[in-house]
Subunit: 120 residues, 2 copies
């Protein structure tokens, strides 16, 4: 079974995660056969490790992690690959992969441009 993890930065204010909860709901409505978990780098739960564990316990054999970040700075270039590698070591039979940050996707950027245009 394939699954997806939407991986965000995390923040102190609990309301910060609202769009992430919305993303997970959208995903599950549109892709009911592919379980989704949120995971956060810091300040929010679950961690990437806990999200991977939860999906593996449900029988997932393949996980794609989508970093819901705009830019690819130190968090995605240094912290994230190390976390991913640690998860892979814990579950050696799991097919674990990651996409670039969502900010690399032209359609995401276009949606932001269109949002700005509607606000003018």
């Amino acid at each position: 079974m394939k699954a997806i993890i939407l991986f965000g930065h995390g923040a102190r204010d609990a309301r910060w995660r609202e769009p992430f909860d919305r993303l997970a709901t959208l995903w599950q409505e549109q892709h009911p056969g592919t379980p989704v978990e949120l995971a956060f780098l810091e300040m929010m739960q679950p961690s990437l490790e806990d999200a991977v564990k939860s999906l593996c316990e449900k029988g997932t054999s393949q996980i794609t992690v989508v970093p819901v970040f705009f830019g690819q700075g130190g968090h995605l270039r240094n912290d994230f690959p190390a976390l991913l590698e640690a998860c892979q070591k814990q579950y050696p039979n799991l097919k674990l992969s990651a996409t670039p940050a969502v900010g690399e996707d032209l359609a995401v950027l276009q949606a932001i441009v269109d949002f700005g245009a509607r606000a003018l």
Copy 2:
């Protein structure tokens, strides 16, 4: 003249800003009559104040600031309104407004879901 500011968090790694530069380029290609500036909360230049100054010096009378953030936590609920208010005080004749964070927009969230779906 109307203008738009795309306001991001900023990061230590200069490569973090690449999608922001791409966003500004997309905007300018698609909306050549509406000047765009990037601005950052911390660790990158220009600041919101400098971006507002630059646009006002070009004769802008109305600026919409679009926070290119996913979640609305402390930065957008506390720091950002204070910065915006300080800019408004400096340019009392400027029509200065802000949208919610782009993560509040359903089309932006849908583009992220679609990006994830293509990666599976």
